[in-house]
Subunit: 393 residues, 2 copies
């Protein structure tokens, strides 16, 4: 065990940055201290001494006494620039920027290999759940079949309020925003992009396969209406936004889609801003991880765990990339879905391989049937706000 | 990353040993092979070639080409003897023997320090759930408050059958035994000893405090009757056997006791042989881990994960012991319990600090009230089969 004191240079002092500051302050026995925090707006009032702050990124990136760069900003391109410069300068990096990481996985992997420095990002996927670490360390030999679950706290909060407290979508969204779980522009959350970035990261650590976010289909909860909610309730189900990665016949597929979830499913009881991830493997069947998926201290605590791991020279080994038997990514897989619409012209039912249920009324219609994920991905009719789709397991 | 091939010497070829063999055989990319298996009975028919087997433990312990000793036998003293000899001989050791480990924690810790060799035992606590690893690595800085949950697969199987399928205790126990989840002598499971051994191990990794099993109170599900089951159902609850470790006011307490569990509690939906562990911490609130707690391949897979970790030079750092601010162990804590009995002479209600409910009928009586754990621990009246206690949260 190496005993050293780590000097931290932090980029960004928003919810996560302040959460990290608080967590670091209240944690005894960690040999890390903040040396500098780089922010955009020097005139904003800050809760800590102004001597900590700078607006010049080079004050961190070029300071040889700073060992670890912690990147917690919102702009994807700027974040990638900071992270890659820091890695090239031989600094270890911790980041929580799921979008930036998902979009640049392969480049970031190469930068780590070339510069022989660790890059940790546990906070980027499901905040407080140590899922990347467990996929890396503990599930390195087990024959994993699937990683799936709830990986976006704000949509789960909204769905909980709708199903448990009978709130409207709009009221629930407003509440999530007031509590800081949802961004002011909630598109990334409610349309499933945020979940997708996490799924792309988990896919790499679970199976060793690089996939670009644009290859993975995402559809969120933005089309959900009262009729769908009624449909779910009548079947004793709730709706959860699910990110899924699954290996089948030597291939791996992934998507983000709302699912009907039955009461005995472990995911049914994951409420509010909590996330829940189910792993399926050959030897252990199901394993399930639940924890807070949003909030400053939950995310800050994950960042701190990464910093602490660096003290012990931890790095992701990416063993599954090195084992060189990664499954190929595919979207060619058949899903069983509920499709709700109003008039036949809105959808293309011919794309269904089979239809097991059909319902018609003057206001709404639905079918339950099997459709290929490839066809969902390219279906223009799914952009119609009057059409919704839910996976039925 | 060090690439090497590990030679394994295995003690025991029962359910877990055979599970490990199967898991190892079906796992590509692990650089470990079985060199020798030490067994007691050379005449038993074995599923693999007899050249693997020996009855002489020194053939493993004194073989310099064997890097890792895997101890999977049932006898506590013999297991401790094997493990300590192996450590002294400079071999890394993997074990699944919770009782042996719990009873010898301090000696085993010292042996690791003195001989500078790793000793891993993830399979000893909650089989397939990587709880020790996560307490060691991921929750090293977070301010943990509690570790509690279902850590015995066979009692959970029995309770599931009783509550979900209205089986009698006896039928459910028989089924658990038939499926290999419960030992032929089920006392250790149903009286809570097995859970206690795990709790003692988790307590060390969560808080850095050494506690002997005899200091921790355990009471199982062996007194549960139809009246108790009825009582739980009327309150919309189920019963789960809970092992708990909780920090309060600079002290830590622990126990194993059956709990009434409400429907919205995450532990409610942990069924059959599955285990579920809830962590509570200052920054992340609740985190929850679920996985199979019994069965050959689930446990074998945990053993294999330890073996694989040794390939990467992993060892438990026992950081919380080294941080030197461990909480002291205490049993001085007040619990809210349901106490069922038949006649007032059977119990000593004066030991209750307060009583909030009282029920009397010609057959059964109960009180709900607050009692100190110390008094429960020394209560002779709790050995009366006609008396039962359940914690109400």
């Amino acid at each position: 065990m190496e005993k050293k004191i780590i000097n931290l240079g932090i980029f960004g002092f928003g919810v996560v940055g302040q959460g990290l500051y608080e967590v670091l302050n209240r944690t005894k026995g960690i040999n890390a201290r903040i040396k500098k925090i780089c922010i955009k707006d020097p005139n904003k009032t800050r809760p800590i001494d102004s001597s900590f702050f700078t607006t010049d990124k080079d004050e961190i990136l070029n300071d040889p006494s700073i060992d670890v760069v912690v990147e917690l900003i919102n702009e994807t391109d700027a974040a990638f620039d900071i992270v890659s410069t820091a890695l090239r300068n031989g600094k270890a990096v911790v980041s929580a920027s799921k979008r930036m990481i998902a979009e640049n996985m392969e480049a970031l992997y190469k930068l780590q290999v070339e510069n022989k420095v660790p890059f940790l990002y546990e906070a980027s996927s499901c905040a407080s759940i140590p899922i990347i670490r467990n996929l890396e360390e503990y599930y390195d030999n087990d024959l994993l079949n699937a990683v799936e679950g709830i990986c976006n706290g704000s949509t789960n909060y909204i769905l909980t309020k709708i199903f448990e407290e009978h709130r409207s979508f709009e009221t629930a969204l407003q509440e999530a925003q007031d509590l800081g779980f949802a961004e002011t522009n909630p598109t990334l959350d409610i349309e499933g992009y945020d979940s997708k970035f996490k799924i792309v990261i988990l896919l790499l650590h679970a199976f060793g396969t690089f996939v670009k976010p644009e290859e993975v289909f995402n559809f969120g909860i933005h089309h959900l209406n009262d009729f769908d909610i009624q449909f779910a309730r009548q079947r004793g189900c709730t709706v959860k936004l699910i990110g899924a990665v699954r290996r089948e016949n030597g291939h791996v597929f992934a998507y983000v889609l709302p699912h009907l979830i039955k009461e005995h499913n472990l995911l049914f009881d994951v409420y509010n801003e909590y996330n829940g991830i189910l792993l399926e493997s050959a030897f252990t069947d199901k394993q399930f991880f639940v924890g807070k998926g949003a909030g400053g201290t939950a995310t800050g605590s994950a960042v701190l765990s990464d910093i602490s791991a660096l003290l012990y020279n931890y790095r992701y080994e990416y063993k599954k990339i090195k084992q060189n038997n990664q499954p190929h990514f595919t979207n060619n897989v058949v899903l069983n879905v509920y499709l709700r619409y109003s008039s036949p012209a809105q959808v293309n039912l011919e794309q269904f391989e089979s239809i097991s249920e059909k319902y018609e009324s003057p206001t709404f219609r639905y079918v339950v049937g099997k459709i290929n994920l490839k066809d969902l991905q390219t279906a223009k009719w799914l952009t119609d706000k009057g059409v919704n789709v839910l996976v039925i397991e």
